[in-house]
Amino acid sequence: MVDFILTEEQAALKELCRNFGEQQLQPIADELDKKAGEDPEGPFPWGVLKEFSSLGLKNLPLPEKWGGADMGVLTHCVLLEEFMAAEAGFAAAVHQSWKLAGLIAECGTEEQVSKYIPIFSQDDTFLMGDGTLGPISSPEDLRLAATREGSGWVIDGNKRFVACGPLAKLFIVDAKVTGAAGGMGETITCIVPKETSGVRPGEVHDKMGTRLFLESELDFEKCRIPGEEVLSDGGGNGSGAKSRYFAKIAPTLGAFGVGIARAALEKSIEHTLERVQGGKPIFEHDVVSFRLAEMKVDVDVARDLVWRAACHSDDQRDYDPRLGLTSVLFASQMAPRVCDMAIQLFGGYGFMRDYPVQKYWRDALMCLFHGETHDTARLKLGRLMETEHI
């Protein structure tokens, strides 16, 4: 039966994350952002991450037997929104961690799970680096080549925009199989510990926003990966467990935009209630009301869609992979639009780096690049329509 009430457990976790964001992240967000603006490899708030882990938040997606809570997609979205509203860069790192821990737990072999999950779950500062294609990109764009060698593989090439690249202790990367490759399909997904020989972190990307979410290049030169470090059924052609996992958690990418835009809206309401022009708070001017309403519509509708898509990911009975993509598309367009309006409502203040709205806007623009471009995502969704039911 259709219902929109969080469980008590979900509500308590949401409250916990909101408080964590407000107390631990918001106070340091602007300063860390500025520092990272001067030095893109700048300081990551490791202390905050430790605190996050010690509250049990890091392990939420793990199965209970590994100390987790089997967190579903909806819960992931609800909690991520709270982090995104506080500091989008840190939140994106949290998202990576949850996503990849879930990937190993759900798609890894028994050996992989028992090798890596304990390491992950017991280390409060264990971040994983994401070099996979994600739910939106296409295998054609892969720049890493995997060549068979005995029972293992040799990886060569360069991977850009590896999420948490400079912070991670373990990488998960997709590579394209060279030549005729046998039963594994056209791509493979490898687990690559940081210290693997032949792997070298490259340039850290100097981004306009989400600066605490460090992304970097990763160079592979004759990097040997044993066969047992390849994720089973990671075919990359959309039918494998990994592809299905990524499609399933697509709505969590929608939560990026929802959280950032919500924060910008909240700040805008505060500001317009305080700022007086024309003899009254500008909130009371119809045109300002109008803009706030457009923002509120955007945020709420996006959240409704993300939640609905997340529910269908969790309850696979009516699952439709297109729904998750629509939530990413809508939320990702919505967030920069809402933050841009927030900047307008702040007038000249919106343009000043001592006010947070410009940071929300810079962070929100990241959402357009969940795929290579926003059009990549539109095309991916369009392709799904060629054959499926209406």
Partner: protein
């Protein structure tokens, strides 16, 4: 627990309505629309209404003891979407009759139910209509204006145990066909309209009551909007619904909470246009490949589906909140209905683009859906009034509402 799964009853009704819409309605609606161009009052397919009534669809809003299902708001929206995706005008007729039968069933006295709803239940072509808008009063009623000069002007004066009504309504949905009417009259001309209007129940054959011309509209032809003309119509005190001066009162709030349903107009219309465009894009080849393999077309389809799914999500939440009144916020309804208008216009225009020049002709369904979509501009509230309502509600909004 957050859940998006429909109940078995909802699923069963949904497939009944879908089947009816596709098999009974779909084959005839284009022709009805065409007929409306020359004969707006004569285009309604009464047989289709009868067929629906036999299936129990006309009376879904009736109380259970009278043979209905008393469907809740969410179910209303889910079923309405199915009909909307085939013909928005006909679908809006269902919307009216579901909602008004329920309104009388919930707010009416036993005597009123006996006088109006029992005959209603037995007559397969009986429809109900409510007259609110007048030539000089529209938004004033829905975006409450407190001046006594605004709002409803149709006069209602008490004479003995009866009220005498005089005046004109227009744009009244289903009026050309309906047999039962609710008419809003100004019972207190010295109070602002929100405090001085009353709902009167009457049969269409009441002396002095007549239907004016049927409006010749851009779209939604089968909704059969018409004028009501009341000349010394006498209504007994006992046929007042809810109470004198309570036409817009809190007691009327169930009726006032129809915004998620109205939002479904846009959603269903958009879905109809999307489905038509998707089929066309799959089945039509140009330069040797199906249109859908063309990037520009694929991206348009993606944008369309995105808006449709977003709108459906917002409507479901708003409808659920109406049904679970402790979570009800007028704003959520306004959001759904504002956004659904945006959705309908954008999706239907995109659909027309996908059809190419064919889309501009009446041989293909896109242009009709686009015309129908514009119905959502002004039903209940204008688009901008919906926005203003949302904006003004935000003063306390320092944390998110969900």
């Amino acid at each position: 627990m957050v859940d998006m799964r429909l109940t078995d009853e909802q699923l069963e009704l949904q497939s009944l309505v879908r089947e009816y819409s596709r098999e009974v309605l779909k084959p005839i609606v284009a022709e009805c629309d065409r007929k409306s161009q020359s004969d707006p009052a004569g285009c309604f397919p009464l047989d289709a209404l009868k067929a629906a009534s036999k299936l129990g669809l006309r009376t879904l809003g009736l109380p259970k003891e009278l043979g209905g299902r008393d469907i809740d708001t969410l179910t209303h929206c889910i079923l309405l979407e199915e009909v909307m995706a085939v013909d928005p005008g006909f679908a809006a007729t269902f919307h009216q009759v579901w909602r008004l039968a329920q309104h009388i069933g919930r707010e009416g006295t036993e005597e009123q139910k006996k006088k109006f709803l029992i005959p209603f239940a037995e007559d397969d072509t009986c429809l109900i209509s409510i007259g609110q808008t007048e030539p000089e009063s529209g938004t004033d009623n829905t975006f409450p204006y407190r001046g006594v000069d605004g709002g409803i002007k149709l006069s209602a004066v008490k004479q003995g145990g009866e009220w005498v009504l005089n005046g004109t309504k227009h744009f009244v949905a289903c009026a050309s066909l309906a047999r039962i009417f609710i008419v809003l009259g100004r019972t207190d001309p010295h109070a602002p309209a929100p405090d001085g209007a009353t709902q009167f129940l009457m049969w269409g054959d009441t002396p002095g009551f007549r239907i004016g011309r049927t409006h010749d509209k851009l779209g939604g032809a089968l909704l059969m909007n018409a004028e009501l003309i009341l000349e010394n119509v006498r209504v007994p005190e006992s046929d007042i619904l809810m109470g004198v001066n309570e036409g817009f009162s809190d007691k009327a709030r169930h009726y006032g909470r129809g915004a998620p349903m109205v939002a479904t107009f846009g959603l269903g219309t958009a879905r109809g246009a999307y489905e038509a465009a998707l089929s066309y894009a799959r089945e039509t080849s140009r330069r040797g490949k199906p249109l859908i393999q063309n990037d520009a077309i694929a991206m348009r389809l993606a944008d369309m589906l995105m808006l449709i799914e977003a709108t459906r999500s917002a409507i479901w939440r708003a409808a659920w909140a109406v049904d679970n009144r402790e979570y009800y916020l007028q704003r959520d309804s306004a959001i759904a209905s504002y956004f659904s208008t945006v959705c309908a216009r954008s999706v239907c225009e995109n659909a027309m683009q996908i059809f190419g020049k064919d889309g501009y002709t009446r041989k293909f369904p896109a242009e009709k859906f686009l015309r129908d979509a514009l119905m959502t501009n002004h039903i209940n509230n204008t688009v901008d009034v919906r926005l203003l309502k949302i904006g003004r509600s935000l003063a306390g909004e320092l944390v998110s509402s969900l």
